[in-house]
């Protein structure tokens, strides 16, 4: 675990000057990941903002080896890289200890890349998969994904006169990954640096398949001022819509329990994507009940899995 101040003293392996929006969430996630790895690291990325803004030929923002293949296959691609490493290491052709991380957005992870991720995790490759969850297809211009929260206005689930935003609750990918019974699954947010880096450090210390779902706000997609990324990514945790927890060898641990649980509207008020939803009291009540039940269930899971 490090503080942002300590991390600032370490050489940045993702250089400045890349083309992500000022205040964007994912470069923070990358810094949290890269600064948490003591060994040399190889990065694999799905197609998306992360890849598009950091690798425009003939430039690259990456000071570590970086491989982009396609949109839906970061899991499989990384398993190939790791598979090659295991083979070459066994043959004595490589002596270094190298770590592997695959990044995907929620579109590339929850949706189109889910099979590829599931396969890589099931096979137990020694790799970490990090999902940068910004709750929609942002690189293509804010289309709904299965991570988009109910009621959010996106370009394919617009707040219309008859249908108001996305109609479904988000898929719970972290739970799906926990069901893979891999050694480490966690959920964090870019705004909680110590929590995020502690989790990434732990992930890198564990052999086998690891998955971390990190909440990474998107300024143009969510509609907020670019000074608010950290604040918003913390606020969501205080509503318990995005709990901060980990599942280590099947045992749940909620890493942060807010002393005052805020209503979801406190989070909604900060972003224009929920503007229309905020006028629909019935929908708000129903969504609040949904998240309350999820939060209660998570606490029960923590209790149940820690019984002696």
């Amino acid at each position: 675990m490090s503080s942002p101040k300590q991390a600032a003293a370490v050489e940045n392996k993702l250089t400045g000057g890349h083309r992500a929006c000022a205040g964007c969430g994912f470069p923070i996630a990358i810094k949290e990941v890269l600064s948490s790895c003591k060994d040399p690291i190889v990065v694999v990325s799905a197609t998306g903002c992360l890849e598009v803004t950091t690798t425009i030929y003939p430039y690259s923002a990456w000071k570590v080896p970086f491989l982009h293949n396609a949109f839906e296959n970061a899991g499989a691609t990384c398993s190939g890289v790791e598979g090659a490493y295991q083979s070459l290491k066994k043959q004595g052709k490589i002596t270094k200890n190298i770590k592997f991380v695959a990044f995907g957005g929620d579109g590339g992870t929850y949706d189109i890349g889910l099979q590829s991720l599931s396969g890589a995790m099931e096979r137990g490759h020694d790799m970490l998969y990090v999902c940068n969850n910004n709750e929609a297809y942002m690189n293509t211009g804010v289309q709904r994904s299965s991570a988009t929260p109910r009621g959010a206005n996106t370009t394919t689930s617009p707040a219309g006169k008859v249908i108001n935003g996305k109609q479904q609750n988000p898929k719970d990918l972290t739970e799906i990954m926990a069901a893979h019974n891999i050694p480490y699954v966690a959920q964090t947010t870019v705004g909680m640096w110590p929590d995020a880096t502690k989790k990434f450090e732990k992930a890198f210390s564990i052999t086998g398949a690891k998955f971390v779902n990190i909440y990474a706000p998107c300024i143009p997609g969510w509609g907020y001022d670019n000074s608010q990324t950290i604040k918003i990514s913390k606020l969501v945790v205080d509503t318990c819509m995005w709990p901060i927890y980990e599942v280590e060898n099947g045992k749940y641990k909620i890493n942060y329990k807010p002393s005052v649980k805020l209503p979801i509207t406190e989070f909604y008020k900060t972003q224009t994507r929920f503007k229309a939803l905020l006028k629909d009291e019935a929908a708000i009540a129903s969504i609040q009940a949904y998240y309350d039940a999820k939060w209660a269930r998570l606490q029960l899971m923590e209790e149940a899995t820690n019984k002696a």
Partner: protein, 394 residues
């Protein structure tokens, strides 16, 4: 050299070739009729006969994706597939060739759905003809084995660095038991050589970015570089084929001709049908018909000049396609042959045929009929037809 004479199916021969090559990584997924290749190979892995890390992925899309990751990491990487599996890999085939990864794949030719069918035709490979992969077809088990042993040398050559697929006809070769001359492991390994990639993502001291976003300012140059590599591949395939001949006694080129030198009528075919055609030619020659064969071994890069040079002397030509391209003109092989003839200024009567789709048998008699039609065309008694179906039920 002590050669072993054995009986093997095409799939067994492919798996044996892979065992002898002993790649660092294989990533594969089962599909009829290619499943056996990886099944046999998995036995080699688990019996410790190869050093390979076998990644048993959850789809062909992931198989090719893992191959891309592995090859980018500098490992000698192989896979095998067929039909729907190759089609599912489609997107990533272009990425493998585009970022210049020398992956080698065995593809067992099988029809594409719909309707679903597990038997041989070339529609799977032909659908990937523009994917930037080198494509080598096999007439029989021996050729499949021999071509697999040459594939890494071609793919990894510094002027090429392009993936290679070696194909066999589904069931006809893949499951047909044939005489196979195998070479000693040590001799094969000496021929194939050690793989030393120039750049890899595992070289953490020299970090590289692979798979960049290349926009309007460089994409064209990127593709031109690939184009040049495919041109160089033609030379390298010939060099490797010649060296293979010197080492193992069987030389390979881009095309093979059979009694074409003095032939009035030449048939162009690929894969196992070339063998059937040779038998037909023997019979026709006894009837006094000067029949000859041009077998295309390498479809990508396409040997247009070499083909035109052979066909220029013919009175009439027939091109057999085991694939429909639904163009209303001809199958893909005939279309490319005709383009090559046009560029070479060769105007020869040419009829094109579609045959064997979904594994429909082609008999010596069917091929003899094609030659008889060519004779009639040459004598002005028949107009050459395009995309004429052979063996269609009345």
């Amino acid at each position: 050299m002590e050669k072993t004479i054995t009986a093997r199916t095409g799939n067994e021969a492919m798996a044996e070739a892979m065992r002898q090559i002993n790649p660092d990584v294989c990533a594969a997924y089962p599909i009829t009729p290619a499943t056996e290749i990886m099944q046999i190979f998995a036995g080699f892995v688990n019996d410790g006969r190869v050093k390979t890390n076998l990644i048993t992925v959850e789809s062909e899309h992931s198989a090719m994706s893992a191959c891309v990751g592995s090859a980018a990491a500098g490992a000698r990487t192989m896979t095998a597939t067929s039909s729907q599996g190759l089609a599912l890999m489609h997107e990533i085939l272009f990425i493998a060739s585009g970022i210049r990864l020398p992956i080698v794949m065995a593809d067992v030719n099988r029809a594409l759905s719909a309707p679903i069918n597990i038997h041989c035709d070339h529609s799977d490979t032909m659908a990937e003809r523009d994917s930037g992969w080198i494509q080598i077809f096999s007439e029989n088990t021996q050729e499949a084995y021999d071509s697999m042993l040459q594939a890494n040398r071609i793919a990894e050559h510094k002027d090429v660095i392009t993936p290679v697929m070696v194909t066999t006809d589904g069931f006809i070769i893949s499951h047909g038991m044939e005489r196979l001359e195998m070479y000693p492991d040590a001799e094969v390994q000496k021929f194939v050589g050690e793989y030393k990639p120039q750049y890899t993502v595992l070289d953490v001291d020299h970090p590289i970015t692979v798979g960049s976003l290349v926009l309007t300012d460089y994409y064209l140059e990127y593709k031109k570089a690939q184009h040049e590599a495919m041109k160089a591949a033609k030379r390298v395939i010939l060099e490797v084929g010649k060296e293979f001949g010197k080492t193992f006694g069987r030389e390979y080129g881009l095309i093979e001709t059979y009694k074409a030198d003095d032939a009035d009528f030449i048939l162009v075919a690929m894969g196992s049908t070339a063998g059937t055609a040779k038998a037909a030619i023997e019979e026709l020659r006894q009837e006094g018909i000067k029949a000859g064969l041009l077998k295309i071994r390498v479809f990508r890069p396409f040997p247009a000049e070499e083909i035109a040079a052979v066909l220029t002397k013919a009175k009439a030509v027939a091109v057999l396609d085991r694939c429909e391209s639904m163009s209303n003109q001809a199958g893909p092989v005939a279309t490319e042959v005709k383009a090559g003839l046009y560029d070479a200024g060769v105007k020869v009567p040419l009829a094109s045929y579609i045959y064997g789709l979904g594994g429909r048998e082609i008999y010596i008699e069917d091929i003899k009929n094609v030659y008889r039609e060519l004779k009639n065309i040459a004598e002005g008694k028949l107009k050459p037809e395009q995309a004429k179906y052979i063996g269609l039920k009345e």
